[in-house]
Structures are given as structure tokens and as C-alpha cells.
């Protein structure tokens, strides 16, 4: 038992395989013949035959047209194209294009936007990691300075002299040296 073919199916096969139903897939030929014998089928077959004839006629007409009408002057113009037109050399592909090409060679389709956003995320995460790591190290150094070094090198307060000079200017009795000695009295005497 062969399923009956509807108009849409018949039109589809007509477009795909042409009006010669013997060229259709074997399992569709019987139902195709059945539909073609209906009024609707006959009209479609007639229209298809007319369309094929028109397309062929159009093709022949175009072929005749293509050889006439200034064909030689057109071909001459084409031959002369290289002289006035300098060639443009393609720039080497950029970093993103190269990266995209690499992924494409692995059959992985990645858009440039995806690459940029992934790279940005990578940089952010890497930056956060480095910052956290550095912060932890600094805290460790402050909490427990390396033994041995701390005892031998005296701490130097580089702002001590500044405060001493400021004090001298305020009380008018001369500056106090960085190590606590009064220099003002010596200057006056």
C-alpha cells in the first residue's frame, strides 16, 4: 500500500527531480504517478514543462547575447586592468587572527570576542592571585622579620632630622642634631 501524495510533496519532488517521474526515488514513483493523473497534478506538470522550456530558451538567448554587443572592447578593457591599478598586499594577520586560526586548525570555532573576554578574565584572575600572594607575603614579613638581620642593622628614621629642624624654628633656640645633640648653643657662642 502506497501512501497518497499531497500537492506540497508533489511540488517538492517536481522541483527536486523534474517532470520525469521515472527519475524520482523508486518509493515515490507510484504515488507520484497517481497524483500526476489528477487535475491539480496535470496543471503542475504542464506548468513545470513550460518553466523548463522557458529556462532553456532563456539560456540560449543569453548565450547569443553574451557573444555580441561590444564583447571585444570589454575583453580589451579587462586585459588592460593591471597597468593603472597597483596591487594591494594583505597585511600579516594580527595576534587575534593568528590565535583564531590556531583554534580553527583544531576544529574549534572561537570568535575574537570570546578570545578577548577569556584573555581579560585570565588577566583579572591572574592579577588577583598575584596581589593576594604579595599581600600575604608582606604581612608575613611584618609579623616576623627575618632573624639575625634585625638585630645587627639599626633602624634609621629618615624623618627625624626634619622634625628637629622644625623644632628649632619654633622655639628659636637652634636645631637639634639628628642624634639629639644641641647645635644652637654652639652656633651662638
Amino acid at each position: 500500500m502506497v501512501d497518497a501524495m499531497n500537492r506540497d510533496q508533489f511540488e517538492e519532488y517536481l522541483s527536486l527531480y523534474g517532470a520525469d517521474i521515472t527519475c524520482w526515488p523508486l518509493d515515490m514513483q507510484k504515488s507520484g504517478h497517481a497524483f500526476a493523473s489528477t487535475v491539480g497534478g496535470k496543471n503542475l506538470m504542464e506548468a513545470e514543462a513550460q518553466l523548463v522550456a522557458l529556462l532553456e530558451e532563456g539560456l540560449h538567448r543569453d548565450a547569443a547575447l553574451s557573444t555580441g554587443r561590444n564583447a571585444d572592447s570589454f575583453m580589451h578593457r579587462l586585459q588592460e586592468i593591471p597597468a593603472p591599478h597597483p596591487q594591494e598586499k594583505q597585511r600579516p594577520p594580527g595576534f587575534l587572527a593568528t590565535l583564531q586560526g590556531f583554534f580553527r586548525s583544531l576544529d574549534i570555532e572561537v570568535s575574537p570576542i570570546a578570545l578577548v573576554s577569556q584573555a581579560a578574565m585570565f588577566v583579572v584572575v591572574l592579577g588577583l592571585g598575584v596581589m593576594l600572594g604579595l599581600g600575604g607575603q608582606m604581612e608575613t614579613q611584618i609579623a616576623s622579620p627575618p632573624s639575625g638581620i634585625d638585630n645587627q642593622v639599626p633602624e634609621v628614621d629618615i624623618s627625624a632630622e626634619w622634625f628637629a629642624v622644625t623644632d628649632a624654628n619654633v622655639d628659636g633656640q637652634g636645631a637639634i642634631g639628628p642624634l639629639g645633640g644641641s647645635q644652637g648653643g654652639e652656633q651662638r657662642s
Binding site: 511540488e11 496543471n43 518553466l51
Partner: protein, 191 residues
């Protein structure tokens, strides 16, 4: 016109063109010039404009030959796409459709018999194709007039083969409907 005695493939010639070989360009132009002039004519229906568009495409072939990648597509597929896109761009620029050359509009005051005589095959085809969308027209042109395989035409239009075949089926069905409707109208006019 010059004879093309060169048996080198299009793809090899394009790679030579990319290196600045003028002779290779001339061989390609002689081999394909008329074909692409005709392709442009099918879109524009104006030979002077078609020649200009085809020439522009060949200028691009000369200046940008190094953009062609023989590993991705055949030369003809690439160049078809170039010409078709240029023609479609040009059509989009024009807000109105110029009448085709030698177009004679049927006079509605004529008798049905006279109309029958005047509406020749060219007009019937033109009317049928005229009802199609731009994409459908392109598909019909590539498959039925350019003789490209469905796969090649699908590549030119940047579609997968299934989508292209579906587009072609719809185009053909639409043209058939137009022809059937036209026949019905004529029969009705004849009484």
C-alpha cells in the same frame, strides 16, 4: 577575442596573479570575462552596467588576489560570490528597478489575442522571475543559468546545501504558480 591555450588551473593562475603576474591575470580574464559579464547582466538587465560591474570585480581580482585561499574554495566559487555580491549591492543602492533593455510593456487595451501574441517567452520568464525574492532570484540564476551544482551555488550564497535546495524548491514552485496563474488569466480573458 584571444584564445586561452593555457591549461593551468584557475587556482594556480590566481596565486600567480597574487605575485603580480600580469600574464596570468590576462589568461584568467580571457577565460572568464564573458561568463561574469553575462552573470552581471542577469542581475542588472543592462549590458553597460553589467560590464562595469564585471570590470570592477576583475579589478578586485587583480588588486586583492592574495586574499583568495585555494584551500577554502574554488576560484569560480569565490569569484561568483564576488560578482554576485557586487551586483546585489548595486541593486540595493538603486531604489527603483530600471526596466530591462528592449522591454515592451503589454498594452492593456489590446485584445486577448494580441496580448497572447505579444506576451512572448522572454516576458513570461521575466515576470515569473520578477516575483521571486532577491535570494530566490540569485539561486535560480546560479543553478539554471550559471549551471553551478547545488553545492557550488550554496557555497556562493554562503548557505548549507539543505537550505539552498529548500530555497530552490520554493523558487521553482513560485515560478510555476505564476505561470499557472498567467495561463488562467489568459483563458479567462479569452472567455
Amino acid at each position: 577575442m584571444r584564445q586561452d591555450n593555457n591549461t593551468e588551473s584557475d587556482e594556480k593562475l590566481v596565486s600567480r596573479v597574487g605575485a603580480g603576474d600580469r600574464q596570468a591575470f590576462r589568461v584568467l580574464a580571457a577565460r572568464h570575462g564573458m561568463r561574469y559579464r553575462m552573470l552581471a547582466y542577469r542581475f542588472t538587465k543592462n549590458m553597460a552596467q553589467a560590464e562595469d560591474l564585471a570590470q570592477e570585480a576583475f579589478v578586485k581580482l587583480w588588486t586583492h588576489a592574495d586574499r583568495f585561499d585555494a584551500g577554502k574554495a574554488k576560484f569560480t566559487t569565490w569569484f561568483h560570490r564576488l560578482v554576485v555580491n557586487r551586483c546585489l549591492d548595486e541593486k540595493r543602492k538603486r531604489h527603483y528597478e530600471a526596466l530591462p533593455e528592449n522591454f515592451d510593456k503589454a498594452d492593456p487595451s489590446l485584445s486577448a489575442e494580441a496580448v497572447l501574441e505579444q506576451v512572448d517567452d522572454r516576458q513570461k520568464l521575466s515576470v515569473a522571475v520578477g516575483t521571486l525574492s532577491e535570494r530566490q532570484k540569485t539561486a535560480v540564476t546560479l543553478s539554471y543559468f550559471e549551471g553551478l551544482s547545488n553545492q557550488e551555488a550554496a557555497d556562493v550564497m554562503d548557505l548549507n546545501i539543505k537550505a539552498y535546495e529548500s530555497l530552490l524548491v520554493r523558487s521553482r514552485a513560485k515560478m510555476r504558480q505564476v505561470l499557472m496563474a498567467e495561463k488562467d488569466e489568459l483563458l479567462a480573458a479569452l472567455g
